[in-house]
């Protein structure tokens, strides 16, 4: 398929040798997650091994779109067994943006498969077809930014400053190709080196794959970094169609600087938006620029005058800004500096966000501290300054003091302290699904929670989130009308969720309906293919409502197919893409079944059923609900309604699960895929392995 480079690189760290896979062998899985799951399935014979077992395999897969002008396709997908989920270390996923994905393709590869374990610290240098295993003794212990600077200089033989810009690789001869680009380096910091359960993989200043702790798996394999530099071309089937589609998308679905339109009260939105909307930067009154991954049309991140907070966004600074604000009366550079530390140490910021809140509760309750039930020495007076973040991050990353427990991750630490069950039941510890911090609430915005518990992690997919919750709730809070009426939103979503055509009914009945099963199935299949396999970015797709779009309609599903077909020369419909997504989702589901997944495990943390609203009950005055307006259909009428203060009914949720399994063609007793379902998807081989392991009925 055009867009593919044709080869996938296998790195055997145990024997320090490389092999190649022809991408065409796995072409039906197209790219990213699909390729990763298919290769993982074949490469890891025993799926029940632990994340840190040398036989665990981490795949890093691009897509046919990466490195092309298809908008917002600058990410790379990572798969493997993750040390983060609780209680089982599920096969999981994560991804990161920047330049790495594009550069890997320019080096000639569609992906990398990391296998085995090196006997000493190692980094990999890839320059086109030259792949070298290098000694990383001198890099081990350096932080993620220092490591990259060392490697940039090593590979380019040049200063890293843009003032000394040059064409590199001239010594390789002119026919090899030259580049002005720095090598793209993915690396780990101390949190990964020391095998905490929160180690991220970091690239450039602020790209990270954090929420699966694959950085720690790298650490367990003695893999410090992978550097790629390439000068090859990505073949595009229909270049003029790609250029035309890109212009069409920018003209019709994105903000125009010359004619800015109201942004619906939010810097976010899906495909269309203003540059720099989401990065840290001018909240601390600094001069900044917007910054984007390769091919981005939105460029939502920032770089700052001081360099603090460069490229960081979202939770990279939100894990600390509240504490900074409380300390200083407003956001300061301390938040950005804390964000920098998370990048340098390569530590998952979702862990830090929930971790700091939880530790603070325990500290204020007199449970955690010096000489307390949970012994911990942390500089609480410094909370809000970067120095507190540094102390905590350092301790966790190096497993010192309280960090030794915290390095196991929050659920395992709380379990050791004998607090897990009670704190999950009260909601004091907000880990809603598989030990992951509650991101969006399963009680109100069910598609987020359901998707997470049916999967293996916090889904972190905002497809519905913007339009069903955020834009609506914000408008309501501020006394404005939501962008469109509930009925119109429902119609748009119904039109665009091909082929299930689900409606966003979040009423008390709607959340347990067959329609909601269709909506969640659409979401699982859509993200597995269009986003996680093609690497369409979560900050741009799916695009249901768009302030700039024709009649406020978003680019989905037309955009996704148009760019894909232009690059690959295929002529697939959106529905056909959804079917590939369903196949990949079933493959993942089979891997989890082999790891021991059963429907009985698919239950939320206790507070989800027992505590209304967002808990916990800190004090009587903390027990109120934040407005959560969502579309509902009641008595035949669509409207937006505040659904806060709702808890899930466990019995009804389990009835809903049965509906979902039926829809997916899974056994309703066990939640495992049926042979027939797998065979119809061309996954007969997978069914055989399930049968062999007694995981099929």
């Amino acid at each position: 398929m055009k867009g593919h480079m044709g080869k996938i690189l296998r790195l055997d760290l145990t024997n320090l040798n490389t092999k190649e896979i022809n991408t065409s062998e796995y072409e039906e899985f197209v790219g990213g997650h699909g390729l990763g799951s298919a290769i993982f399935f074949d490469a890891v014979k025993d799926k029940t091994i632990s994340a840190f077992h040398p036989d665990n395999v981490i795949t890093m897969m691009t897509s046919p779109l990466c490195g092309t002008l298809a908008p917002a396709t600058g990410r790379i997908e990572l798969n493997g067994i993750s040390p983060q989920p609780y209680p089982t270390e599920w096969y999981s996923r994560s991804n990161f943006g920047g330049r790495f994905s594009a550069m890997l393709k320019y080096a000639g590869y569609d992906g990398i498969v990391i296998e085995g374990k090196a006997d000493k610290p190692t980094w990999i240098n890839i320059v086109n077809e030259d792949v070298e295993f290098k000694d990383a003794e001198s890099l081990w212990g350096l932080d993620a930014w220092e490591t990259q600077e060392e490697i940039w200089t090593d590979v380019s033989g040049n200063s890293t400053s843009v003032d000394e810009r040059e064409w590199y690789q001239t010594e390789r001869g002119r026919d090899e190709g030259r580049t002005t680009q720095k090598p793209a380096v993915a690396t780990i910091g101390a949190a990964g080196e020391n095998k905490t359960r929160s180690g991220a993989i970091i690239h450039d200043a602020g790209n990270g794959a954090g929420n699966a702790a694959f950085g720690s798996v790298w650490g367990s394999k003695n893999l410090k970094a992978i550097s790629v530099l390439g000068t090859k071309s990505v073949e595009v089937a229909n270049p003029s169609a790609l250029l035309k589609s890109r212009e069409w998308a920018e003209d019709n679905y994105n903000n125009q600087e010359s004619d800015p339109k109201p942004n619906w009260g939010s810097g976010v939105g899906a495909f269309g938006g203003v540059p720099g909307a989401e990065g840290f930067g001018n909240i601390a009154e600094e001069q900044v620029r917007p910054q984007g991954c390769v091919s981005c049309h939105r460029c939502t991140r920032k770089r700052t005058e001081s360099g603090h907070g460069n490229e960081s966004g979202c939770v990279d600074f939100l894990f600390y800004d509240v504490h900074d604000e409380q300390k200083h009366g407003g956001p300061t550079k301390e938040t950005a500096k804390a964000g920098d530390l998370s990048q340098r140490y390569g530590i998952n910021v979702y862990f830090l966000e929930e971790g700091i809140n939880y530790l603070k509760h325990l500290h204020e309750r007199g449970i955690l501290g010096e000489g307390k039930e949970i012994e911990a020495s942390l500089p609480w007076d410094e909370l809000g300054n970067a120095s507190f973040a540094k102390e905590l991050i350092y301790k966790v990353s190096n497993k010192e003091g309280i960090g030794e427990d915290l390095a196991m991750g929050l659920p395992r630490a709380a379990k050791k302290w004998g607090r897990l069950e009670q704190d999950l039941n009260s909601g004091l510890l907000g880990l809603q699904y598989w030990g992951y911090p509650q991101h969006y609430d399963a009680r109100t915005e069910v598609e987020w929670g359901y998707g997470s518990i049916l999967g293996e992690r916090d889904i972190n997919e905002h497809d519905f989130n913007w339009v069903v919750y955020w834009q609506v709730s914000l408008a309501k809070l501020f006394g404005r009308n939501p962008p469109v009426k509930a009925e119109k939103l429902a119609k748009i979503i119904k039109d665009k969720t091909i082929p299930y055509n689900a409606v966003p009914n979040y009423s008390n009945e709607g959340i347990y309906s067959k329609n909601m099963a269709k909506l969640v199935a659409w979401h699982r299949h859509y993200t597995r293919f269009w986003k996680q396999s093609l690497q369409y970015c979560d900050w741009a797709y799916a695009d249901f409502l768009n302030p700039y779009g024709p009649e406020t309609r978003g680019i989905t599903p037309e955009g996704e197919t148009r760019f894909f077909n232009a690059v690959t020369g295929k002529d697939i419909s959106f529905k056909e893409g959804m079917e590939i997504g369903r196949k990949i989702w079933n493959l993942d589901r089979s891997i989890w079944a082999l790891q021991g997944r059963h429907r009985d495990q698919e239950e939320f943390a206790g507070y989800t059923y027992d505590v209304a609203s967002w808990g916990p009950e800190i004090s009587p005055h903390a027990n109120y609900e934040v407005p959560y307006y969502m579309p509902v259909k009641e008595d035949g009428e669509w409207k937006y309604k505040n659904v806060a203060s709702r808890s899930l009914d466990k019995e009804k949720f389990n009835e809903w699960k049965t509906k979902f399994y039926e829809l997916e063609g899974w056994n309703t007793e066990t939640g495992r895929p049926k042979r027939e379902t797998l065979e119809n998807l061309g996954l007969g081989k997978v069914a055989d392995e399930l049968e062999q392991k007694n995981k099929i009925e």
């Binding site: 939100l318 004090s619 934040v626």
Partner: protein, 137 residues
């Protein structure tokens, strides 16, 4: 001053507290008596922050002033339920007058941005008043 403005000004009038009241108004309350603030964020979801003093409440509301959001440059709102706040001020800080003023004023506003602005104006006034009183004596 216009009649309308005079009336408006009156809505924000707060009588001088006693020294004892002022101390309580400025105090930091214990864990079990805290009020919660909710940091709402478009991408990160909602997180809760226990707040133990009027100063912390003011900081919290000030930090993510909802007005900023309209520019499309930030997507966070710091939210405190106005009714929960007034009952906390009354029951925990013992300041019924401030609580009543907040209740009265927020009733007139139909959106949270305006409510938060009104609340801050009253709280800041009370903090200033109480601080002056304590430093005088």
């Amino acid at each position: 001053m216009l009649e309308k403005d005079k009336k408006k000004e009156k809505d924000f009038n707060l009588s001088k507290p006693s020294e004892e009241q002022a101390k309580k108004i400025l105090s930091e309350v214990g864990y079990g008596d805290k009020i919660a603030g909710v940091r709402m964020h478009a991408m990160a979801g909602n997180t809760k922050e226990p707040l133990g003093s009027l100063r912390e409440v003011d900081n919290f509301l000030k930090a993510k002033a909802p007005g900023k959001l309209i520019k499309g440059q930030t997507s966070s709102v710091n939210y405190i339920d106005p009714n929960a706040l007034s009952s906390w001020i009354k029951e925990v800080l013992g300041d019924s007058e401030l609580a009543k003023k907040i209740e009265k004023n927020i009733d007139k506003e139909d959106d949270y941005r305006k409510q938060a602005k009104t609340i801050r104006k009253l709280i800041e006034k009370r903090i200033k008043q109480s601080r002056e009183l304590i430093s005088e004596n």
